[in-house]
Subunit: 135 residues, 4 copies
């Protein structure tokens, strides 16, 4: 199992008239979480696209909202990879505020597409050589 | 059952470097769908907040992505209410492009909060007097 | 001179905790305005990129905020082209609410880039054959 | 004069189909810059609204775009306050990428509004007692 944490402050731009982080913006927090999980292991999504030639469209997203995130909250994004990625990669996210209250839980399933052929491929070696030792 | 359709054109602002509508923006399409479903029945979310004093935070969101939405696509957002709202309201959404291809399916569960007491309440009469005849 | 109007409803997603349309989202309204001005003349930005092979990065943006746009307001975006586009295209925008109050004025300067060579080019014929009769 | 720098990584969510940071998102970078400039001086915009009861709507925004910001770029946001705030506060921003190339310059003018009376007020003491020594 792999677990990474990173932080993100809630902007005015992110809030809505309820004073909460808009429910659609959690997907962006999950994006931050997965990019930083990769970076923690010496790989980047930018390199995956630009050099390896593979992109990762999202197949499924789910979010459960427990408490609102408020303006200027310093959120902690905890991202976990529980299973070895194969045809898909499945990431689990938890969002906490600065009082360590759990605000939100999410799950994102992504797959791998060869950018030249536009066909689905398996998890590229660029990822698996870093992740396999953890499983 | 209640079903409403409305349209939304994909902006440059909505696309990402993959050339697709960013996966986090579907939540915004569902918001458009539910607002227009209410308006079609002579009620508005603005009135719910400003006059009735009830707001509707989101409890759960899920999206399944089948095909990408592309820049300038004219999307159709189909919003369905399958069950009478009680403590919660549960909306189903389908997104189609101008070729009538199904791109995305989503589900949003919301609840009702009295804005003064900040306590959870049941579906307000303002909604139920419009929706009850359909169930 | 060319003038086009189109409408856009303010979403919850667009509001901020002040209850106003977030100041950064006016750029998106201007994008809607210029896309619809093109469409009114039988041309689309999508065709410009995909077929003509020219893109239009923004060089300069300015916005003056007079009154806030509020949730669910039905905004009118008025877009004007006052001069024949040459090396640049310069668009003027006014945003009104449903009470016809002027909320915001903006100006966007864009230029033309050949997507293959990545070099700056003059206004393509695809535009000028439509716009020249107006000047 | 006061000068603050902070960083922000470009997300996939921030890019558009051109592969650039969308032109409307620079306003968000300026928001980050001004919030961090305040925080560097022991004050927060959250406290201004929640405790002092003053909010800061934007009056004018301008941006000049020189080079694109790309996905995963680690941007530096440099925020300067050149004059003592009085009825307004006027902030200058410069955005650099990790190669220290200047990508964008912006200016944001904001004013102060008493949230109870909804009337315009002068720069509150909460700000001036921190900023006055610099001018």
């Amino acid at each position: 199992m792999i677990k990474t944490t990173t932080t993100k402050r809630v902007l005015y731009a992110d809030t809505d008239k309820m004073g909460y982080l808009y429910y659609g913006h959690y997907a962006k927090l999950y994006e931050i979480g997965r990019a930083e999980m990769l970076r923690d292991h010496g790989i980047t999504y930018r390199h995956l696209e630009d050099v390896v030639g593979v992109m990762m469209p999202v197949l499924h997203l789910s979010c459960r909202y427990r408490r609102p995130a408020l303006y200027d909250d310093l959120l902690t994004i905890e991202t976990s990879l529980l299973e070895r990625p194969t045809k898909m990669i499945n990431l689990h996210h938890k969002i906490f505020n600065q009082e360590n209250e759990l605000l939100n839980k999410g799950e994102v399933k992504l797959f791998f597409v060869d950018m030249k052929t536009q066909k689905r491929v398996s998890c590229p070696e660029y990822f698996s050589e870093k992740f396999d030792p953890f499983f």
